[in-house]
């Protein structure tokens, strides 16, 4: 997305309700800054993330997608993030196999107490995606305005 002549990547962050979403909240109450082009979507658990959500986000104009969940072992539902970890590993590997830049996707474990980590991760990830530039390979022109 171009804002005042400057390129700003659109980042979609899927955050689990119990840890990462609260972590994002904490980074806000602590007045830490992270880019406003990070769009947070709250999901019940990191394993709720259907791989299609990621591909759809890319098609509809996201330049990077990040999944945040509880640290392995701390899942509210005990084991959800273990499954998510395997799935995302395979999905990212598949995207890589199809020639999609691997820097556009990431999984990060952020607990409810890690507001600072959340802000730092988002800053870093946004900078990383900004370097890659606009996502051309995954977009679907039918979905763009």
């Amino acid at each position: 997305m171009q804002v005042n002549g400057e390129y700003k990547p659109t980042i979609v962050a899927f955050c689990c309700n119990w840890c990462s979403y609260a972590g994002a909240d904490l980074s806000g109450t602590n007045r830490l800054t992270y880019p406003d082009n990070v769009k947070i979507i709250r999901i019940p658990c990191s394993c709720r993330l259907n791989p299609m959500f990621i591909l759809r986000a890319f098609q509809r104009g996201a330049d990077g997608v990040i999944l945040c969940g509880c640290h392995p072992g701390d899942c509210h539902y005990t084991t959800g993030n273990y499954y998510a970890r395997r799935r995302m590993t395979l999905l990212f590997s598949m995207l890589d196999f199809l020639g999609i830049e691997r820097e556009r996707t990431r999984v990060e474990w952020v607990s409810a107490a890690e507001g600072a980590k959340f802000a730092a991760t988002m800053n870093e990830f946004t900078a990383q995606v900004a370097k890659l530039g606009e996502n051309k390979r995954l977009e679907d022109l039918r979905c763009k305005k």
């Binding site: 590993t89 395979l90 196999f97 995954l138 039918r142």
Partner: protein
């Protein structure tokens, strides 16, 4: 090959089963269709077992095993893996099925025969290692190994995993199949080359859904791609990511349950090497979570329905080799 038909007749006549699931000739002799036979007359008339019986019959048992009476099915080694995987998922009622294992020397592909210059074929018979083809232009001989289906070239196993009765001798697994060679070759390319390769392949997709419909692992009652309101049920422009999306998700939904039977590539009317996507998942699973063969046994858990506490992190994809 006659003994398969004899067995079908015998099972029907001695009352072991009331129906037979086998193959019958379609429009052409090489175009065989799975079919259910209910009487000895039907079997005598239409039943075929030839080097073109590539079709995997196990998926039909989901519906057929729920009907009244017992059904006999002929399973080649690779089909038996799909059968066991479906049993494991409680999709087939085992008591209603009588499995006859059939030894397999690899099935043939008419397209490959055409490429070898054998055209206008009217009939094919086996002669040891060779196929003798009667064509409009006289008789021609082709070595069987040159005409094999892509999946049979790198056959992973000649072992029928589960059977009630075996026709011919049961074979062994083949660890030297080299079935991941092509995947490794693609992995060694640069991302740009890979993107170009897959855009070229997948943009040919006409979204006929044949790969989904034939897949024994793909047996949901309601499929995510059947949603007419989603706007994703049809063909998209070449430059959009829609077809890639479909094929990634299709392969992902069967990942770790896919037995690598290769039906997806066999039925693809556009000849897209779809099995490579499935094999990529299998290769990754083998490398990251330990060797696993879906459908090889009844008690192991598929890797995506399982986990260990010290699994690798998804960032391993970024760290592992390959060109940036």
């Amino acid at each position: 090959m006659q003994e398969v038909m004899k067995k079908a007749l015998e099972l029907l006549q001695n009352g072991t089963v009331s129906r037979i699931l086998g193959w019958k000739t379609g429009d052409f002799f090489y175009d065989l269709t799975p079919a259910v036979f209910e009487s000895a007359e039907e079997v005598e008339k239409d039943f075929v077992f030839s080097p073109f019986c590539g079709a995997n019959l196990s998926k039909y048992l989901i519906k057929e095993s729920r009907k009244e009476g017992k059904i006999a099915v002929f399973l080649k080694p690779c089909d038996s893996y799909s059968f066991v995987q479906l049993l494991k998922e409680h999709r087939i009622i085992r008591d209603n099925v009588y499995v006859v294992g059939v030894a397999c020397d690899g099935m043939c592909d008419i397209e490959k025969m055409k490429e070898l210059g054998v055209k206008g074929v009217t009939a094919v018979r086996e002669d040891g290692e060779n196929l003798v083809c009667e064509t409009l232009y006289g008789e021609k001989t082709v070595a069987r190994k040159d005409a094999l289906l892509e999946r049979c070239v790198s056959c992973k196993s000649k072992k029928v995993v589960m059977f009630d009765e075996m026709l011919g001798e049961n074979g062994e697994e083949n660890p030297e199949s080299h079935r991941f060679d092509k995947v490794a070759e693609l992995e060694a390319m640069t991302p740009d080359e890979r993107f170009a390769f897959w855009q070229n392949e997948l943009s040919r997709c006409i979204r006929c859904n044949a790969c989904r419909n034939v897949c024994p692992a793909c047996s949901c009652e309601k499929c995510v791609f059947d949603n007419a309101n989603s706007g994703i049920a049809n063909k998209a422009a070449v430059t959009s990511f829609e077809e890639q999306n479909f094929h990634i998700i299709r392969a992902f939904h069967v990942a770790s349950r896919c037995t690598d039977c290769g039906e997806c590539s066999r039925v693809c009317p556009q000849h897209i090497p779809l099995h490579l996507l499935n094999r990529k998942f299998i290769k990754d699973i083998n490398e990251l979570y330990g060797e696993y063969q879906a459908g090889a046994d009844m008690d192991t858990k598929p890797p995506l329905m399982n986990f260990t506490k010290d699994d690798c992190e998804p960032s391993i994809v970024h760290e592992r080799g390959g060109d940036k």
